[in-house]
Assembly symmetry: C2
Homo-oligomer: 402 residues x 2
Amino acid sequence: MIQIPQGFRLAAANADFRNKHLDRNDLSLAFSDAPATAAGVFTTNLFRAAPVLVSQEHIAASGEKGVRGVLFNSGQANACTGEKGRENCLLSLDMVSQALRNAGEEVSSEELLPASTGVIGAQMDMDKWAAAVPALAASLGSVSLEGLARAMMTTDAFPKTAGRELALKGGMVRLAGVAKGAGMICPNMATMLSLVMCDASVEPSVWHDMFRRAADATFNRVSVDGDTSTNDSLYGLANGASGVVVEKDELPLLEEALTAVLGELAYMLVKDGEGATKVMHIHVTGAACDEDAEKVARTVGHSQLVKTAMFGRDPNWGRIVAAAGRAGVNFDPMALRVTLCGVELFRNGRPTDLDFDALLEEPLKNMDLPLDIVLGEGEGEARLLASDLSHGYVSLNSDYRS
Amino acid sequence: MIQIPQGFRLAAANADFRNKHLDRNDLSLAFSDAPATAAGVFTTNLFRAAPVLVSQEHIAASGEKGVRGVLFNSGQANACTGEKGRENCLLSLDMVSQALRNAGEEVSSEELLPASTGVIGAQMDMDKWAAAVPALAASLGSVSLEGLARAMMTTDAFPKTAGRELALKGGMVRLAGVAKGAGMICPNMATMLSLVMCDASVEPSVWHDMFRRAADATFNRVSVDGDTSTNDSLYGLANGASGVVVEKDELPLLEEALTAVLGELAYMLVKDGEGATKVMHIHVTGAACDEDAEKVARTVGHSQLVKTAMFGRDPNWGRIVAAAGRAGVNFDPMALRVTLCGVELFRNGRPTDLDFDALLEEPLKNMDLPLDIVLGEGEGEARLLASDLSHGYVSLNSDYRS
């Protein structure tokens, strides 16, 4: 069981945001007893939901002062809701901070970061918020990490948690993270939400930079369908409650642990991608530069033809090679090598003479498929985790009237 | 019935390239009695098949001299086949030109343009070529436009032909075109092949420019799955056999007719896209420039979430808006307007108050769905035809082992 880092308490409640009277929580809070340094990575979509805009403002304003928590709601995305949506977002923070103050916590609404997922275009039901907030505040400290992960879920098949412990010179430091993935609710697009809590003490600028790099290496290296939502948000809070100040030469260790936690969560997102039956572990090397390698990895990982081939357990080197060839990257086609599950499929401009069908029949039944693409240009390298494209994906995303 | 332009004769034969002993032709030739001005537009994939490379060389060398015909084979793509593939391609042209010379035609193999579709990575079976070429030559002049279109087909559901007649000052001019579309054969990617024949007399440089513009406005404005093949090729031959020299002020009329023929063929390609049940007619206006408009159109048209929504007859403005917002184009989200089948879905940063479900239930049952996206930036404009994403697509492209 993953332990919650020191100085964090979790809360959850059932607000019935979906109007379905389900027996599950859809409102939750990760709360830090002391102000925590906050980092955030958000959707680059032009249509950013109200909670994304408010979170960005609160993080920017937090500076050395820090924030106290992240407030999640599932069922109502509060996206494309205009000025009224922003007012509702701020009102929800007011309600929760007031309830926490009533419980003896000294916290202002500006110290909370909102995160929403669910139906877009509809206004949040503030009566439901008002009814559920007391139960949320009352539950503070009684909810597990998995309980938090469950309350964030939409159509996720399983709750996603990850953690690491790190023995530093000053003592033990903990990291624990939760995420929700590419679940789809009508009429909506997939939203990714994630939070990592850490009880180490880290300089804000150092934490920001470290978090950005860790996110780039993990969450920004996954592909379910290439669509990004209006609400995608990734939060990192470091509250120093362990009493351990991370020394400069220990920062790489912390970054490694943070990257590992985010990496595990990102992997789970792809594995639980809509209808996913496979996770391609794409690794491109030998490109002229890292950017070129990334373009090739993304073009292959996003290719509908490659994705359907993996779903069909088809060692279809032709689709992989053709996707690489249209990535908009210049390379020598004769130098390209493609290896799937350890079996070299393509070399010297031609398929190899191996019996792919026989060699790959069993490996292609696995969930995890390593796909290595080697160019002959330079030292550029990139990794990407990509799901396949299945009947399940089409069913989940088209099941509206049919 | 579409008439074959003057001075063109068509031929077809069954070479059994698929080794399936089917009762259908898979080898065909469009032949011009006189040298014709040739234009070509080819795949930009780094992995270009041998026939693409040879066609490009022959067109480049043809200049004022012209070419005599285009030779199609279906079942063997001759892609990723190395030096041997190139030799086989040239050998196939030698066989056909020799057979034509035996029949009294003065033609060299350099005057023929090869076009292949089918399984990639495998070498062509030259014994099958040798066996079928006499029948091909013997059929010259006895094959209809539809017969040519049928012989090019892979998994296309129907043969694709289009034509126009044009009364110019010098007399009547005809255009007739054929295409094969996004058919999939294992292990392969979709290949698009098309030819337009015209019996007007046009300057080579004028014909080249006109053909490039017409292709950009039509074939380069369709999306089935965003994957481009190693063999995509589009040919245009103008042989002057009508005796009509197009005058300068008539060139726009000819270009309009050419664009109409290519537009009809491109529409049929999308309609017959793998598993397609819908054709989105995406029209983006009000962008800062045409390039921005095209980026938005392509991001929306390629979005798996938008495509599955259309398959599910779901007026999902959220997916459309979110796709536009991640296109990498800067625009004012508040100024965006989205109209589907004439019903305005989104305006002023919010969904409109219309009852989408009631208004769009019937229109979304249609094959053709107009989708208008208006930005508030400038005069930039783009169109794109895009298919939906259905269970049929996944079945066709994953049906290998399952």
